[in-house]
Symmetry: C2
Subunit: 317 residues, 2 copies
């Protein structure tokens, strides 16, 4: 008799979300706990294992009926060996999470980085369903992504491919957190959106942005977005600038990968209607016509479940 | 009894080079003729077929011993259907070259675009040998390339992936032939090299570049390169600028694809020793450390045979 369930674990810096799903990816039971990122890795992994036992107990499902556990984790990882190499948020260092989980739980475990897992979620269950060549681009504090080619994640030679937020689109642009200059992330992330807002207020221009916060340091991407939604001219200009850079990044991905779909997710795209017209206009002006005409640009459909659904998609691989 | 030979056809705008090879890709016989690009497609394809018969006759090899014919052609193509959609150099339009050749010759024919074929040649026989994730970047009049992922060419959704010369590295850069702004090709091709040389001479700066030609329009990439080789300061500055842009393009490819090797070919890299130090310096400054440290950047080893060896690699697939 075949196995009937999989389990997905979305491991984040602040919370762990674990879900039991059927083989179609329907979530049947979920448990959410604080990560406790300050505790040692052993303790956090024990907590993960407890959430797995919990979803099984609550759903009254036996381990014998579980095909596999998928884990989506921040990286960098060694996926083949099942090791979290390090993660700035969790302060982990060479944690063999796959072995620690499978030894304790007696179930096979597969690891994937969170951006790739989210791409697999969109591909299996979301806006990318039905496409075999797809790019998922997440725009929030940073810009990350996952590239799917012929239904497989692009891992590259040492599993660090797909850093689409870290490609230069402005040779002499601002310094990026990665050390490069003019990365897409340095120009078009939520962090950049907030920086443009603070710069505008510091220049003393007439804008709502400064009135929406107590201190100038409180201006972030969401503040600028809200000001734009209220019709503030300066905020709208900033949004237009960022949307243009996002469009350049997307046009680059179209020319390089010729994907069938590009799915946009992350906090910044929650206000997608503010950005989308300019994004599409820039893509039309910049991408090669043949691949552009066949590429659909769309928003994530999975919302805050994208992480755990990604882990489920990994388990179903 | 197995087939012992393959045939490769390198179809170019000015010449056709056809070669018979063994299953290790060793060329045993070759025929080179003018393409006659002004004649109708039917006549050019008949000429190709004649070169195939010729290499067989000269090597005294029977068609029965030939596994397959590979054709490397300028594109865009429809590879699955075996059709050359159009090529600016040949003025072809929807030419079903695979059917025309296989009907006439009674042998299976596989089509691939010339840049991808060159990537396969480097992968099978040249500087990329032994790597499963490799990028071939050719820098001559334009910048093209082929991306190999897990030993397969990246074709994308509609076979137009891999246009690595047409990704923006300078958001407000010069207009490119493709209609975009600030493409790698617009900034770092042989054409750009020549343009920078002409601009320098027009500005009236003190340089050998102008003295090496009769008319300013005669300044191209090779003139600037020769002036740099003779130690001309202005030409060296131009080479440095172009090498920096090439380095930015390579750093982007490393962050996006995490390849094991990047192989540089094309006319500009014939003077590779002029460029390589600055290329490597820029890559070191700009690419993410983990994928950069594992990526070898090297020059093509196959010289002018890269095209026909690519067609042979296609036939051996």
């Amino acid at each position: 008799m075949g196995k009937k369930y999989v389990i997905g674990v979305d491991l984040g810096g602040t919370k762990i979300l674990t879900a039991l799903a059927d083989l179609e990816g329907q979530i049947l039971q979920r448990v959410r706990v604080e990560t406790g990122a300050n505790e040692p890795a052993e303790q956090v992994v024990r907590r993960i294992n407890t959430t797995v036992e919990q979803v099984l107990n609550e759903a009254q499902v036996s381990k014998d009926d579980v095909l596999r556990i998928g884990v989506g984790s921040p990286g960098p990882l060694n996926i083949k060996e099942g090791i979290v190499l390090f993660t700035p948020n969790l302060k982990w260092n060479n944690v063999p999470i796959v072995k620690m989980m499978s030894d304790a739980l007696g179930l096979p475990v597969l690891l994937e980085n969170d951006a790739n897992a989210a791409a697999l979620a969109e591909h299996a269950f979301g806006a990318g369903k039905g496409s075999s060549n797809m790019i998922y681009m997440t725009i929030s504090t940073g810009i990350g992504g996952g590239v799917i080619i012929n239904n497989q994640i692009l891992h590259g030679f040492s599993e660090s491919a797909g850093e689409i937020g870290h490609h230069t689109i402005m040779a002499d642009g601002p310094v990026c957190g990665c050390g490069n200059r003019g990365c897409l992330e340095a120009l078009a992330s939520g962090t950049a959106l907030g920086r443009y807002g603070r710069e505008a207020v510091e220049r003393g221009v007439d804008t709502l942005i400064g009135e929406m916060v107590e201190k100038i340091e409180d201006i972030d991407g969401s503040v600028v977005t809200r000001a734009a939604q209220e019709g503030d001219r300066v905020a709208l200009e900033i949004v237009d600038k960022v949307a243009n850079y996002i469009g350049i990044g997307i046009a680059n991905m179209i020319n390089i990968f010729n994907p069938e779909k590009i799915v946009l997710g992350g906090g910044v795209t929650k206000a997608g209607e503010l950005f989308i017209d300019r994004i599409l206009q820039t893509v039309e002006e910049r991408a090669l016509e043949a691949p552009r005409k066949l590429c659909e640009i769309t928003f994530s459909k999975l919302g805050s479940d994208v992480g755990v659904l990604g882990a489920i998609a990994v388990a179903l691989k």
